[in-house]
């Protein structure tokens, strides 16, 4: 039973399109995150939600909009995709916003052509 699952695993799309990535965790964690890993493997936080409330928004363009319908789900919608959005996007969760017990999903590789 996958603890943090993301769909889709791969996404290839054209510039200007809108796409969504879904994430679900079954660990009962209160906090969920989106991280972006660029081509140099640098992993950087984008957003975090605690019990459906946005806590962190790390200077991400407005084209990226996270949505958390409940504490087990955190989706990421991206409008007007650009070439620079190509990356691997990781969803993660942790109990109570701690560094301990962080669990990452397996990632969504987004390629914008």
């Amino acid at each position: 039973d996958t603890a943090v699952s993301q769909t889709p695993k791969y996404l290839v799309t054209q510039m200007g399109n809108d796409k969504s990535i879904k994430c679900e965790q079954n660990l009962g964690h209160d906090t969920m995150y989106w991280y972006k890993q660029d081509s140099k493997k640098f992993l950087k936080i984008m957003f975090s939600y605690n019990n459906k409330e946005l806590i962190i928004n790390e200077t991400v363009p407005n084209r990226f909009s996270p949505k958390s319908p409940d504490k087990a789900h955190l989706n990421l919608h991206i409008n007007s995709l650009e070439l620079g959005d190509s990356a691997v996007y990781f969803c993660a969760s942790s109990p109570q916003g701690t560094g301990n017990g962080y669990t990452f999903g397996s990632g969504t590789r987004l390629t914008v052509v």
Binding site: K41, I45, S48, N50, S94, T98, G99, F104, S106
Partner: protein, 112 residues
């Protein structure tokens, strides 16, 4: 701005070698330092360090934190090809709830 720097950025060794990976940080409100191993997919947790000078060990891997020097090392003894991966150091702290700030990673390649 909080910062985590890892060195070396890449390392190539042969099976059986011992390697030491370095992580230094400049952060406010330090809470903990974490090490992750990333192979093809998700980073997987290795260690969390909160206290200086206390070594954490798991099999051939060990790690220690030096709060005075603002650094941590990850040691891998008797390396195997399965240790080939990116090793990521991250700190948890600052004012942002639950945020992990990562270093650039060290790419370790172990040849047979």
């Amino acid at each position: 701005e909080d910062k985590v720097v890892q060195s070396p950025l890449s390392l190539v060794v042969h099976e059986g070698d011992t390697v030491t990976l370095n992580c230094s940080y400049e952060v406010t409100n330090f809470r903990s330092l974490l090490w992750y191993k990333q192979e093809k997919k998700a980073p997987t947790f290795l260690f969390m360090l909160t206290s200086s000078g206390i070594e954490k060990k798991s099999g051939r891997l060990s790690s220690i934190l030096d709060k005075k020097e603002l650094s941590s090392i990850l040691n891998i003894t008797a390396t195997q090809t399965g240790d080939s991966a990116i090793y990521l150091c991250a700190y948890a702290g600052g004012t942002s709830y639950g945020k992990l700030t990562f270093g650039q990673g060290t790419i370790l390649t172990v040849h047979p």
